[in-house]
Amino acid sequence: MKRYLALSLICILSVGAFAYMYYHSQGILSRTHQKVLNIMNQVQKSELELDKDILRLRDFSLLDYDSVTKQVQTLEYFCKVQGPELIAVSPETAIYFTSYCSLLEQKFLAVEDFKSMNSAYKNSLFFLHDKTLNGAQSKIVSGLYQSEMQFAYAIMSYSLLSDNMSKKTAEKNFKHLESSSARNISIAYHGRKLLELQEKKEAAVRQIISPFTNEAFEKLRNSYFHSYESERKVAVFYQRLLLLSCLLLLFLFFINVLKIWKSAAALVKANTSLENRVAERTKELTESQKTITEQQQSLAVSAKMSALGEMAGGVAHEINTPLAVIRLRTDQLLESLQEDPIDREFFTKALSAIDQTVSRIGKIVNGLRSFARDGKNDQMSSYSVSQIIDDTLSLCRERFTHRGVQIDCLQLADIRINCRPSEISQVLLNLLNNAYDAIQNENEKWVRIELSESVQEVHISVCDSGKGIPLEIQEKIMQPFFTTKEIGKGTGLGLSISRGIIQNHGGQIKIDNSVQNTKFVLTFPKTV
């Protein structure tokens, strides 16, 4: 979660950084710069044209102020609209721009003044020319006409030269004209006007064509180029930075791609080797599994062998006791044959005891026979449970009694179940032997077998006087090779094999914890 937060933050920051760099890399666009160059050329041209027009208007008679007006309007448009938008981009340039425009303003005033004065001047000049040099010949009054003529020439040269000498001459001639004229007031009027206007007009012209505005414009232009250069440098710098960052990003990207590709290849390789190892292991395991199964089988066989061995030992013991009885009785009989008279009652009692004992041995042998059969391949068939219990007891009763272990058998019912009797007997014997081993050191030694039934089940329970099996190991005892006996004394297979047999019969083997003593319960479903 934290990683994603950090990653997204980095993403946003880098996007912001890129946008910032891109924005600054634009600087003054070349299009705008070109526009500005064009405008500045136009302004310079307009000023030049204006000056030329003014001079032309001063010197020649053709009067049409439209062109001058157009130049002025172009320059005004520059000052009001184009300049502020495009040129006054930095504070420094703005200052030069303002000073240039204010100089232009003054120039414009001078232009307007020039127009007014020029028109009035030209009118008076033409009037004078008209009246004196052209039109008044018919009304020659010699002296007067002379003064008018002289003044006309003087004023014309003053108009062309505009110097003090010409001015003085013109003024002198005018005074002469004024004093001598009553005829034509208007001539004097015009003359005065001419002198007045000539000076002012020339001053206006001088102001218009003075280089002040040109200098200011040059300063403006230089300042603009200066700021343009610095802006351009900044823009270029950011462009380069942007390019570098892009390359870096691309580089990182490629490195990552390479890494991913390599790790993908490694992954594939690791996968294949893993697959191989797994296959090998599986093979090993299958083989070990086989070995184990074989070993289990041989162990089962050896367990059964040892059980058989045990049982053989038990059976031997069982047979020994009746055999000892027979021997005792036969010894007694042999002894009593020496006596005279023969005690017939004693002989009958002893021989019937021998007979009983022989039957007992027969019973044991029978029980053994039925046990020894490997009943695994038998069909299940209906047998009396009581019979099975009896048969089993006969194999071990003597041993138990010899050690002082009391056996009780509670048969609450006589039931038949579908089973393999030898196998059931094996299970019972196993339980009995376990009980026998467990209560060796107890004060009370008894084993109780109960046979009972419920509605659907048959219960055989084997209870001994032991203290019960601790809960922790109750599940474990059913597992193969688990034993609490000393090494060499038990295989640990008895209960697991028993469980297998009971489960084959559709039953269960459980420990009943409701009593303090150890109680194993076998449960079988009833046969219909």
Partner: protein, 315 residues
């Protein structure tokens, strides 16, 4: 070769003349809807405080662009203090108003709308009134992105005003070599030039491109014998320079036949009066009777056709 000769003759005629003909057709780059909107606004009485005065009251489109009064009448019958110049061909003047205080037709509109004796309104009022009219709202929205604003109103009206051109005056046709003037008219033009009227009344608009003192050669105001008004000071009101006292914009002489009375104070009732006064006070000359008739005849040739745009917008 014949056409070549005519072309050369045409060029020669007016290439060297200080007066040039008006263009016969305006290059209209603006959409017609804007011109029509300008026309509507020009006739719109809501531009005034009590919805009584529109531009046409002083610049009537059917009377040569003027009201033929010495001083115009504004809101509540208030009489102004200066003669209304014609709106026809006003786009060719280099400044607007007699004292040149407006540099463009757009700027000029500020004057009458807010003048207490003319329309007596204010821009917020005007905008509110126009906004309440759905017709104006839709028209403005169709042309301008930001709807009804001061700038857009001015732009629409000025665009319309620029179309009010009166081409094909008799004199213009003469300049183009299409016709010949009568002998009297020709003489009038020659005298116009010789006497010196041409010094100020020159250019495409026969005037309207310079300032000049009223009374170059004599004190017009003293001889007028009526009290001096503020307007009589002319350009001095704007520049505050002594030399600009009584300096006015030189008016255009086009359609002068229709725009009586003349001068900033409407003092001259007839053309003859005007020529007489101009001759005396501007040229310092006593013109002969022959000169008068000739010059007046010439001036009458400067009347052009009514603006063609009016027929289009009135549909």
């Amino acid at each position: 070769m014949f056409t070549c000769a005519i072309l050369i003759k045409t060029l020669l005629v007016y290439a060297s003349e200080p007066i040039r003909p008006l263009p016969q057709q305006m290059n209209v780059k603006e959409p017609f809807s804007k011109i029509q909107l300008g026309f509507l606004l020009f006739n719109e009485k809501k531009l005034s405080a009590k919805n009584t005065v529109s531009c046409t009251q002083c610049h009537s489109l059917s009377r040569g662009g003027v009201d033929n009064l010495a001083f115009s009448v504004g809101i509540d019958g208030a009489v102004g203090n200066i003669n209304s110049p014609t709106v026809f061909n006003s786009g060719f003047n280099f400044v607007q108003f007699w004292n040149g205080r407006a540099k463009s037709l757009e700027e000029q509109i500020d004057g009458p709308v807010q003048h207490p004796k003319e329309m007596g309104s204010s821009w917020p009022e005007v905008i509110a009134k126009l906004n309440s009219d759905p017709n104006y709202r839709t028209r403005f929205k169709a042309i301008y992105r930001d709807g009804i604003t001061v700038q857009n109103i001015k732009n629409a009206i000025a665009t319309f005003e620029r179309q009010l051109v009166t081409p094909n005056a008799k004199f213009d046709r003469y300049l183009r070599g299409e016709i010949k003037l009568s002998e009297l008219e020709m003489q009038g033009y020659n005298r116009f030039k010789a006497v010196g009227c041409i010094a100020c009344h020159q250019g495409q608009n026969v005037g309207g491109n310079m300032y000049e003192t009223m009374g170059v050669m004599g004190n017009y105001f003293k001889d007028r014998k009526t009290p001096l008004t503020e307007e009589d000071l002319g350009r001095y009101l704007i520049t505050k320079r002594e030399q600009d006292k009584h300096v006015f914009r030189v008016p255009s002489l086009r359609n002068v036949e229709l725009t009586a009375p003349y001068f900033h104070d409407g003092y001259a009732q007839t053309l003859e009066d005007a020529v007489h006064i101009m001759g005396k006070y501007q040229l310092g000359q006593q013109l002969s009777k022959k000169d008068f008739t000739a010059i007046v005849a010439f001036l009458k040739t400067l009347t052009g056709e009514p603006p063609a745009i009016l027929k289009k917008v009135e549909k």
